[in-house]
Structure formats: structure tokens, C-alpha cells
């Protein structure tokens, strides 16, 4: 920190004055102390001597009295000793007596002493002579002399008192001096403080006050006053205050510039703000409108939601909504009723864990193969119309289900799925009864159908005599109609078998080419009638395959007769058989140039009793059971079937069968 010289100098001066005053005081005190010491010693010595003199005088007077009454000569030597003592004391007094008065007093004493010694000698002689008159006379003289001696001693004591007064005077003068010095110091300090105060006021405080006034001016945005009052040329660069002024000036100038800019900015901003405020008000109005709309929308949404929930709760089918991970987010009342699970127990759990699934024969269906799992993993699985699926309830009992899964997508992204299902026990029982009935009915139908068939066969072959052409033609119609009926019955029975689960496979090692050849030969008549160009392409080294020949034959019959039936005259049908990858499968492919399967019919084409619209239109004959049976047989044979089709271009069915289902 740099200290201003203007402040330091006066303080140093003041300190010097104070030090000098104290120095003087100390010298003075030392001097006075010596005087006081001398006087004090003198006073003490004189005091001591005068008291000793008094004591010796008293001793002498006592001894004289003693001698007067008992005349003991020993006392005389004691009086002599006292005289010697007094002489010694008197010798010591001289150095302490330095005034004329003092010396006079001492010489008076010594004079008196000489007188009394003579008087005492006379007295002692008188005592020794025992002359009473003389003795009284002498004693009176001696007493008077003794009185005189005592008076001189008292005078000495009085003189000593003047010495004591001198000491007191010295002390007094010291106090006076001290008081004077302190007074002077106080005056100096007070004056100095005043001087310093005014000095500082003019050198520091005033500029600061000035600065403060200027800063007020700046605060009031009055920049002109400053430059009028401060002339930069008068400012000294080494002086802190001046530098402060300089800085202040620079700062005020900069501030002015900044302020001007700010003012400009504020003007611009204020303008912009006004516009913005207006816009905001407008958009606020718009927002309020939107909010109002939103509220109305929300209300109607709530209503819809309440309605939806009521609908969902009231439907008889079990319903579960799952998120994209398959965790349950909603179940309805029917779900609880059918499965025995309570809503609280299943929310957040994985649906496929809550409802384990089984096939007809009791084998568990792995979760990843479950329809809903496949839907959620992004697959597009086909509905399985053939196999009955069972769910396990909470208590472990199982029930057949019919179910439907729908994906939930948001902006094209899969976010979950809805599953609805019904307990199909009753349906299945009814279905079973129906199937059994159909089976029985179909069997019963075969007898009259056989009668019609065989009798018309006999008539046609002339067993009852020759028929004319017209009769033959009509009879042929009866025969063909009957044959179609027989086929229908056959299909019904096959479906019954599939659904009753009584369709068993009789596996044999078969050459598929032979089977296809046989079927093609069987249908040769139809092929020729429609002038279909049938081509058969077989891989040369095709391995034999383990299949149920009768069932697979049914598959080929169906596919080939479909291809013929649904292809225009002179169309093309092509069958290709080849072995698949690693010789594990055989791929059977049959393509036609027929009517094709319409897009909307594709998902249902393997369904029971389903016929596409164009198929119904183009060919009246057909049960809608063929592909259902085909699909069932292929499933049963552990194979796969799929197709590609374009309307009015043609259809290709692909069948892949394991070469040995026991090893695949």
C-alpha cells in the first residue's frame, strides 16, 4: 500500500514535537531528582544529629543529677564519654550546613557547649565539695546553661525544617513543571489535530467530496459539469488523488459514451419490446383460445375414455393390453373372470408368463413362439386356424381359447398390442358335436351316393341296354354331379378328422415324383378339357421322402386341381420338385397363370370354408375346404406352405417338407 506523503509529514512533525517535550521533561526530572536526593539526605542527617545531640544532652543531665545525689565517680567518665560523642556529632554536622544561618546556629551551639562544660566543671566541683549554697548557685547556673544548649538544638531542628521546606518546594516545582509540559503538549496535540484535520480536509476529503458530487452528477447523467470543473492539464500524474480524478474523468467519458449507446439501445429495445408485447398479447389470446379448445377436446376425450373403459369392461371376451415388452397395462373384467387372476396381481407382469399356453396334447408352447410374442417382435405371423391352443388359468386348469391379437402402433411405431380371447370350451364342445355329426352324416351320405354312382355307372356302361346319346349325356351329368358330391363328403370328413384330431399319419418312404405323376394322370381329363399346358420339372437325383403318401397325395390333388380350376383355358401350370438346403427338405412348387388371389383374401386363404370372391365368381364348384385341409396336413407333416400371388397374373404355392420328419 502506498501512503500519501501529505498525511505522513504532519504526523511525523507532531510526533517529533511530542518526543522533544517528553525529552525535556525527563531531563528536568533527573535534575530535580538529584536536588531532592541531596536535600533529603541533609535533612535526614541533620535530623539524626539533632536527635543524637538531644539524647547525649539528656544523658549528661541525668548523669550530673546522679552524681549530685550519690557522688559516684564512675558517672563522671560517662559524662566525659558523652562529651566526646557530642564533639564527634558536631564534627559531622559541618558538611551538611552550607548556609550562613546554619553555620551561625552550629557555632552558637558549640559556643554554648563550651560555656556549659565550664559551668558543669564548677558544678561537679561544688558537688564534690558538698557546699550546699555554692552547689545550689552552681546548679542554677548549669541549669540555665543547659536551657541555652537545648535552645540551640531546637534552633538547629528549626533550621532543618527549612531544609524540609526546600524539598517540598522542589516537589512543588516538579509538579508545576509537569503540569506545564502536559498542558503545552495538549495544546500542541489539539492544535496539530486541527491543523491536520483541515490539511486533510483540503488535500483528500475535499477532492473526494468533489468526486462524490461529480458521481452524483454522473448518476444524474450530467456529464458536462465534470469537464468544466476538472482541467486534465492541472492534474499531477504522481498524485493519487489526481490520478483518481484522471481515472474518474476517463471513466466518466467512457460512461458517457456507454450511456449514450445504452440510451440508443434502450430506445431501440423499447420499440422492439412494444412490438413484442403486442405480439405476445396476440399469441396469448390465441393460446387462450387453444386452451379452451384443448379443454373441450380433453373433456370429450375423457368422455370417450370413460365410454371405452365401460365398453372394454363390459365385453364378454377377456381383454389384455400389453406394452411393447409384453407387460400387461390393462385387463378387463372378463379377463379376471375367465383366468381367475385379479387385476392387481397381473398389472406390469408379462402376459405370456401369466397365461401359459399349451397345445392340444398338453405340450407347453414356448413363450417366444406365442402369437403375441411374435407380433411384438415385429413378425407378421399367420393365424393358425387348425390347432386348438389352451391357456392355463391361475389354478392350473386349462381351457381352449379363441383369440385375436392386434398391434397398437403410434406414428408407425409398434408400442404394444391388444389381445382378446374367449374361453372356447363350449364352442369347442359344440364344434366337436358338430364335427361328429358331420362325420356321421357324411358316412351316411356315402351309401346313397354310392348307389347313384354305381347305378349311373352301370347304365352308362350299357348294363341295362344301350342308351341314346341324349340319355348318355344326361346320365353323365348325374354321374359327374354325384362324383362332386362324393368329393365334398370326402372333404368334410377330412375336416372332421382334422378337427377331431383323428387324422394320423402313416409314414412311408415315398418317391414324391411318382406321387405327382399319379395325381397328374388322374386329373388328365380335366387338364385336357381346359387345354392346360402342364409341365413337370423334377430334380434328377431327388431323394425319397418320408411322408404319409395318402395325405400328401391329397395335398397335391388339391393344389393341382385348384391350379387347373382357377386358370383360364390354355393357361400354364408348372410343377417343380427340388431338394432344399443340405438335403433336409424337399421343395414342391406349383405355379399357374390363373386368376390369382386378391390382396384382401390372402390372409384368410387357408381358413376353413373360405373362398375368395373371384374364385366364387369364376368357378362355382368348391367347398372352401381344400387349402384348409392342405395346410393342416402340411402342418401335421412338419412342413411349411406359403404362396405368392398377383391377381390376374397367377399364383405359386410352395410346399416344403422335411425329408425325414423323425430327424428334423
Amino acid at each position: 500500500m502506498k501512503i500519501n506523503i501529505k498525511i505522513i509529514l504532519p504526523i511525523i512533525a507532531l510526533l517529533c514535537i511530542i518526543l522533544a517535550a517528553f525529552g525535556y521533561l525527563l531531563f528536568y526530572l533527573k535534575y530535580e531528582e538529584q536536588i531532592i536526593d541531596n536535600q533529603t539526605e541533609k535533612f535526614q542527617q541533620l535530623n539524626l544529629m539533632s536527635s543524637e545531640l538531644t539524647k547525649e544532652q539528656e544523658t549528661i543531665e541525668y548523669n550530673v543529677l546522679v552524681y549530685r545525689f550519690n557522688l559516684d565517680k564512675n558517672v563522671l567518665s560517662a559524662i566525659d564519654q558523652s562529651d566526646i560523642n557530642i564533639a564527634q556529632i558536631t564534627d559531622k554536622i559541618y558538611p551538611y550546613i552550607n548556609s550562613e544561618t546554619g553555620r551561625k546556629l552550629v557555632s552558637n551551639y558549640i559556643e554554648a557547649r563550651k560555656n556549659i562544660e565550664n559551668v558543669r566543671g564548677d558544678l561537679l566541683k561544688a558537688i564534690a565539695s558538698k557546699k550546699e549554697d555554692d552547689l545550689n548557685q552552681k546548679y542554677a547556673i548549669w541549669s540555665a546553661q543547659t536551657q541555652a544548649i537545648r535552645q540551640t538544638i531546637i534552633d538547629l531542628d528549626n533550621y532543618n525544617l527549612t531544609v524540609f521546606n526546600l524539598i517540598l518546594n522542589s516537589f512543588n516545582s516538579i509538579y508545576n513543571k509537569l503540569f506545564q509540559v502536559i498542558l503545552i503538549l495538549i495544546v500542541i496535540v489539539v492544535v496539530s489535530i486541527f491543523v491536520l484535520f483541515y490539511y486533510l480536509k483540503y488535500t483528500i476529503s475535499n477532492p473526494i467530496i468533489k468526486l462524490s458530487i461529480f458521481s452524483d452528477e454522473i448518476a444524474n447523467k450530467n456529464f458536462t459539469n465534470i469537464s468544466e470543473h476538472i482541467n486534465p492539464e492541472n492534474l499531477n500524474n504522481t498524485d493519487e488523488i489526481d490520478r483518481l480524478f484522471q481515472d474518474f474523468l476517463t471513466m466518466s467519458q467512457k460512461l458517457k459514451t456507454a450511456y449514450d449507446e445504452l440510451e440508443q439501445n434502450v430506445k431501440e429495445r423499447t420499440q422492439a419490446l412494444t412490438i413484442r408485447t403486442f405480439e405476445l398479447e396476440e399469441s396469448q389470446k390465441a393460446t387462450m383460445n387453444i386452451l379452451e379448445d384443448l379443454n373441450m377436446e380433453r373433456k370429450s376425450l375423457m368422455e370417450t375414455k370413460a365410454l371405452d373403459e365401460a365398453v372394454l369392461a363390459s365385453i364378454g371376451e377377456g381383454l389384455a393390453v400389453v406394452d411393447k415388452f409384453g407387460a400387461i397395462t390393462y385387463i378387463n373384467d372378463a379377463f379376471e373372470l375367465i383366468t381367475g387372476w385379479k387385476r392387481d396381481e397381473v398389472l406390469g407382469k408379462i402376459l405370456v408368463d401369466i397365461l401359459p399356453s399349451q397345445a392340444e396334447d398338453g405340450t407347453p408352447i414356448p413363450n417366444e413362439n406365442r402369437f403375441i410374442s411374435r407380433i411384438l417382435s415385429g413378425e407378421n405371423p399367420e393365424n393358425d386356424f387348425v390347432n386348438t391352443v389352451y391357456y392355463l388359468k391361475k389354478d392350473g386348469t386349462r381351457f381352449p381359447i379363441q383369440s385375436l391379437v392386434k398391434r397398437i402402433t403410434l406414428n408407425g411405431e409398434l408400442i404394444g398390442a391388444v389381445k382378446t380371447f374367449t374361453d372356447a370350451t363350449k364352442i369347442k364342445d359344440i364344434d366337436q358335436a358338430k364335427t361328429e355329426f358331420v362325420s356321421l352324416a357324411a358316412h351316411q351320405l356315402r351309401t346313397p351316393l354310392s348307389a347313384i354312382g354305381w347305378y349311373s355307372e352301370m347304365l352308362l356302361s350299357g348294363d341295362a341296354g344301350e342308351l341314346n346319346e341324349l340319355q348318355k349325356k344326361y346320365l353323365q351329368q348325374i354321374y359327374d354331379g354325384n362324383a362332386r358330391m362324393v368329393n365334398m363328403v370326402k372333404s368334410f370328413l377330412n375336416v372332421s378328422r382334422i378337427e377331431l384330431g383323428t387324422m394320423t399319419l402313416d409314414l412311408e418312404l415315398v418317391d414324391l415324383r411318382k406321387l405327382v405323376d399319379d395325381v397328374a394322370e388322374e386329373q388328365e381329363q380335366k387338364i385336357e378339357q381346359k387345354k392346360i399346358n402342364l409341365s413337370l420339372n423334377y430334380q434328377r437325383d431327388l431323394p425319397a421322402i418320408v411322408i404319409d403318401p395318402k395325405r400328401i397325395r391329397m395335398v397335391i390333388e388339391n393344389l393341382l386341381s385348384n391350379a387347373i380350376k382357377y386358370t383360364e383355358e390354355r393357361g400354364k401350370v408348372e410343377i417343380t420338385i427340388s431338394s432344399g438346403q443340405e438335403n433336409k427338405n424337399i421343395l414342391f412348387k406349383i405355379s399357374d397363370t390363373g386368376f390369382g388371389i386378391p390382396e384382401n383374401a390372402k390372409p384368410k386363404i387357408f381358413g376353413k370354408l373360405f373362398r375368395a370372391e373371384n374364385a366364387v365368381e369364376k368357378a362355382t364348384e368348391g367347398t372352401g375346404l381344400g387349402l384348409y385341409i392342405v395346410k393342416s396336413i402340411i402342418n401335421e407333416s412338419m412342413g411349411q406352405i406359403w404362396f405368392e400371388s398377383l391377381e390376374n397374373k397367377g399364383t405359386t404355392f410352395f410346399v416344403s417338407l422335411p425329408i425325414d420328419p423323425n430327424n428334423s
Partner: protein, 153 residues
């Protein structure tokens, strides 16, 4: 006629539906078979032999039937419907027929049935019956030509 009869192969025809029975019989006879017919297993064995018309014989009792059959020095083939009049069906017939000392074990049996079930086919196959036809699905011609083929007529 005797000479004819001697050359003719004889078939025991067991079929419960009369119109069908007649049709088969006519057709078989047209194809030079001697036909012995019955509508039930019981009748096939017990009802004796009655003339239906010139070439047909009905068996009325089992002794008679067996006697008749033995008189004919065995029949050449049997046309057997599965569903028959009465409690017993084709399987029962085959069992009884084959149980008879194995005497006729080599007589070929042709089952012509309404039922196309695989299980039934297997049951017959286990009893040694290999020829199985689903009634309405086969022409008489076809069945008869297979019989002829089997008998090497």
C-alpha cells in the same frame, strides 16, 4: 351252365344296403362271377342258401353256409361291407371266418366301406385284409377289375 358254374369264380357278397347289394351283384355276375350274398354276418353264416335268382345263393345257417362253402370247394373271394345289419360288422366277420381252422385263410377279402378312416384300414390290414375301397370313391369297374387281377381271372 354247370360247366359255366365250374369255371366261374364264386364271391361271397356281404352288403347291408339292398340297392347296393343288387348293383354289385349284377355287376359281378356280368363279370362272370358266381355271387353268394348276405346282409349280415349272422346271415352270412346261418341263413342257409336260398336262390335269389338264377346265379345267386343266400346263406341261411352257418353249418349250411360252411357246408355250402365246402361243397363249392371254397369260395374264391369275399366282397365285404364294413357296416352291416345287426350288431356285428365286417371285422367280426373276418375274425369268425379266419377262425374256422384257417381253412379259408387264403381267400382274398375285398372290403368296400363307407369309412375311409385309417384306423379301420389298419385293423383290416392286421387281419390280413389288404384290399380296401371307400365305397363312393371307386367305380364298380375299378373294384371288380382289381378283384379279377387278384384272382388272376
Amino acid at each position: 351252365m354247370n360247366k359255366d358254374n365250374k369255371n366261374k369264380k364264386s364271391i361271397l357278397l356281404i352288403e347291408d344296403d339292398i340297392p347296393l347289394l343288387e348293383a354289385v351283384q349284377i355287376k359281378l355276375e356280368k363279370n362272370n362271377f358266381k355271387v353268394i350274398s348276405a346282409r349280415s354276418v349272422e346271415r352270412a353264416f346261418s341263413s342257409g342258401i336260398e336262390d335269389l335268382d338264377s346265379g345267386s345263393i343266400t346263406v341261411s345257417s352257418i353249418e349250411k353256409a360252411l357246408k355250402f362253402l365246402s361243397d363249392l370247394e371254397g369260395i374264391d373271394a369275399i366282397w365285404l361291407d364294413h357296416n352291416l345289419v345287426g350288431k356285428e360288422n365286417g371285422i367280426d366277420f373276418v375274425n369268425k371266418f379266419k377262425a374256422n381252422g384257417g381253412r379259408w385263410s387264403k381267400v382274398p377279402i375285398f372290403v368296400v366301406s363307407n369309412t375311409s378312416s385309417l384306423d379301420l384300414r389298419k385293423s383290416y390290414a392286421q387281419l390280413g385284409v389288404d384290399h380296401y375301397f371307400v365305397k363312393a370313391e371307386h367305380r364298380l369297374d375299378n373294384i371288380i377289375s382289381e378283384i379279377k387281377e387278384t384272382l388272376a381271372v
